[in-house]
């Protein structure tokens, strides 16, 4: 290996442009895992449908296996009984993974401020994007997806190995890969 | 070192396949997981097919893969998957088992030695060599003329085997559904 010119070697030039390219690639290939439990899932169907067509964003391949998906779209009320399942699915996903809480119920519990409903999934897993609405219009779901695209574009390849990220996971009591 | 240089390309390939075949065979009997054994056996079949190709018996090579690797071993895998033999079995610790396998192994070795002592291998003469040997037309002609009777007998045997298999495989009342 010859020495690269100053400013073009090391983690500088190559790494950042690779970061960018992969970021763009990732952002255009976000395979959602539709974790649809109620009303918002029906609106997600509309989002997949001809009028809104989520496939334009390269995200029409809903992979129901968490191993293959990039975005966990939590749509609908998550009851406390369901909480562990959501967490399990999140754990089974491979990095990089993003979580979108679609709709009021998933984001905060919505009108269901009751003994059985989890008041927002961010109590058990880290959430990247919240989509308001009950249920959100397909446009808003697409907005959420585009927000994730933005996040993916701006994310460095090494973000998932940083201390901050690990600390974030630990704050959710998610330890490394034990439960996979 | 000089010897190595004199070995032709074909022979290198032959040694490679031979080594692969033997290691695959060893893997088959030494591996503790049945699944791995099957995979090793498939490797053996593959290298045998490679050797067949070196002998210009392409038909045999491919049929070996289709029949043994493609069909029979798949059924083996099937059975293993159904039986779910994931856990190690400790049957080998049984002394009678060890004795029996040693004796049968020795017997086999004895037989092989006896056979090979008597065996006579034609010397290869380039003059008589025909690239058509082992080709499918030759094979077909031979099978349907010289070996007509054994060939037909074998097919009858297969027919019987198939009927028998169907009979055995027929579902009985209260049996398992697969």
């Amino acid at each position: 290996m010859t020495d690269a010119p100053p400013g073009y070697g090391g983690p500088g030039f190559f790494a950042t442009s690779l970061d960018k390219v992969i970021g763009i690639a990732r952002s255009n290939s976000l395979w959602p895992l539709p974790f649809a439990t109620s009303c918002c899932g029906i609106e997600f169907m509309a989002t997949m449908g001809a009028h809104y067509d989520i496939s334009r964003f390269g995200a029409e391949r809903p992979s129901f296996s968490p191993r293959q998906s990039d975005v966990l779209l939590v749509m609908g009320t998550i009851a406390k009984k369901m909480g562990p399942v959501v967490k399990q699915v999140y754990l089974q996903m491979a990095e990089p993974r993003w979580v979108v809480a679609v709709g009021a119920c998933a984001s905060s519990g919505g009108i269901f401020d009751t003994y059985s409903v989890l008041q927002g999934i961010d109590r058990i897993i880290p959430v990247d994007v919240y989509v308001p609405g009950c249920p959100p219009r397909p446009e808003q779901i697409l907005d959420g997806l585009m927000q994730v695209q933005e996040l993916a574009k701006g994310e460095s390849l090494r973000r998932r190995e940083t201390e901050e990220y690990r600390a974030l996971l630990e704050s959710y009591n998610i330890l490394e890969k034990n439960d996979r | 070192m000089e010897i190595l240089k004199n070995i032709a390309m074909v022979e290198w390939v032959y040694y490679f396949f031979a080594a692969l075949a033997i290691s695959g065979a060893l893997g088959t009997i030494l591996s503790k997981k049945p699944m791995h054994s099957v995979i090793a056996l498939i490797i053996t079949f593959f290298s045998l097919s490679g050797i067949y190709v070196l002998l210009n018996a392409q038909f045999l090579a491919v049929v070996n893969i289709i029949v043994y690797a493609g069909a029979i071993m798949v059924l083996f895998l099937f059975v293993i998957m159904f039986l779910n033999l994931r856990q190690e079995s400790n049957e080998l610790s049984n002394t009678s088992m060890v004795v029996a396998s040693t004796v049968s192994g020795l017997l086999l070795a004895l037989m092989l030695v006896a056979v090979f002592r008597k065996a006579y291998i034609d010397p290869i003469s380039p003059a008589l060599f025909s690239s058509e040997t082992g080709m499918i037309e030759r094979l077909g002609n031979l099978l349907y003329t010289h070996y007509m009777l054994p060939f037909e007998l074998v097919s009858v045997l297969f027919l019987v085997a198939i009927s028998g298999a169907i009979l055995i495989g027929k579902r009985e009342k209260g049996g398992r559904h697969f």
Binding site: I42, F64, V85, S116 | G174
Partner: protein, 413 residues
């Protein structure tokens, strides 16, 4: 599998039937279907005991989105409960919505004007169409054909456009009010409805049926799969299309007409032996009947007010609130939920997307219901699912589930 030529029973039933000993050690596998399995459309868990590909028994767990509707309802004023009912059967929320309002109107003894009743019928039938469209097309998805689903989803989108025109939301509409509707049908809405029921929907839906009805692959997957006999259907509390598929023509719209359903001519499609194909066919036939009802309703839409003239229960016009003291007082009282509800018990049933949707309301005269119980058809008939899939394969279990049209929000409440 036989061992030493003796037949061995694997289940208790087999042991009894064949009079042979039950084999203790069984070779069954368990398969966990759900709660996030793609085919459960929502979330129910089925732990299947499998013998090869065949299901021996299943244990069902529900409650994964239990949201305590009934508990919340006990501290919500009547008009706010629509937001709950909308989210119960979210595929056909206007039916729930209207059903709830009819229950309250029964309690308050409010008479709804004819026009409002007709608008309600139109909305409810649109909702029924939307519900059945989803259910039938999801069956296509679950049997592997995805395209039909998206064809009819475009029609559902048009139904949502009508809702948008009516109330500004697509799914959780909140469009009814005690005593009538929130808004009248706008000219655009009428145009859209007419376009839907006369032009686009019949065309697309006929095409959808053509895609599946006579396709042998689809028929093989559904005919004879998960049949429900009449007796079983009644015993398990089936109602709605699933009951009618079994051959009983019970329909709340005809047996106990509400909201002017007696004015309309329509037939009750019934199936033959209640298998998956029958359920599918009955739903499709009901779509055609709903189209018929909507055509009649929109053609004969009576003139008049779209809500009852009940100052006590229906919000006064904004302008009046601004200028008129009495209106302002009523406005405050209604919003605060301080309406004078009588003490009493009401049970009112409507024909929901999945069957008899009942509202059992006990009022103690307070601001909120003392007790409000929803008779959710899904919850009641889903318990038969375990019985239905027994002996079938996983490939059977999936179409059975989608043909039952179990909606998690309604199931778990």
């Amino acid at each position: 599998m036989t061992e030493n030529n003796t037949i061995v029973a694997r289940t208790q039933e087999e042991a009894l039937a064949l009079n042979v000993p039950l084999q203790e050690e069984n070779n069954y596998t368990t398969l966990n279907l759900g709660p996030t399995h793609p085919a459960t459309h929502g979330i129910f868990q089925n732990i299947l005991t499998m013998d090869g590909e065949r299901i021996v028994s299943s244990e069902m767990t529900v409650g994964y989105i239990h949201r305590a509707f009934e508990k919340i309802a006990e501290r919500r004023p009547f008009y706010q409960i629509t937001t709950l009912t909308d989210r119960m059967n979210y595929c056909s929320s206007p039916i729930n919505n209207m059903g709830w309002h009819m229950t309250v109107e029964k309690l308050l003894e409010v008479t709804v004007p004819k026009r409002a009743q007709y608008i309600r019928v139109i909305m409810m039938e649109l909702a029924r169409i939307a519900d059945h469209l989803i259910c039938s097309s999801i069956m296509g998805v679950d049997t592997g054909a995805f395209s039909g689903f998206l064809y009819v989803m475009q029609e559902r989108e048009k139904i949502y456009e009508v809702y948008e025109e009516m109330c500004g939301a697509r799914l959780t509409t909140n469009m009814g009010r005690i005593g009538g509707m929130e808004r009248d049908l706008s000219p655009t809405a009428i145009k859209k409805i007419k376009d839907l029921v006369y032009n686009s929907l019949p065309k697309v839906f006929a095409e959808f049926e053509e895609l599946f009805d006579r396709n042998r692959i689809f028929r093989d997957r559904t005919i004879g799969v998960g049949p429900v006999s009449k007796e079983m259907a009644v015993s398990y509390g089936f109602t709605g299309p699933n009951l009618r598929a079994a051959g009983i023509d019970y329909d709340v719209r005809v047996i106990e007409p509400y909201s002017s359903y007696e004015d309309f001519e329509f037939e009750i499609p019934v199936g033959h032996n209640g298998d998956t194909y029958d359920r599918y066919k009955v739903r499709n036939a009901e779509v055609w009947e709903s189209i018929k009802i909507i055509r009649q309703a929109i053609e004969n839409l009576p003139e008049g007010p779209y809500h009852a003239n009940e100052n006590h229960y229906y919000l006064p016009p904004k302008q009046a609130v601004y200028q008129n003291m009495e209106a302002l007082i009523y406005h405050f009282k209604i919003v605060m939920g301080e309406i004078d509800a009588p003490v009493g018990e009401v049970y009112h049933a409507v024909e929901g997307g999945n069957g008899e949707l009942g509202f059992y309301l006990i009022s103690d005269g307070g601001r909120a219901p003392f007790r409000l119980h929803f008779r959710r058809p899904c919850f009641i008939y889903y318990q038969a699912y375990g019985e239905l899939i027994k002996g079938g394969t996983v490939s059977d279990a999936i179409p059975i589930m989608s043909s039952l049209n179990v909606i998690a929000g309604e199931l778990d409440a």
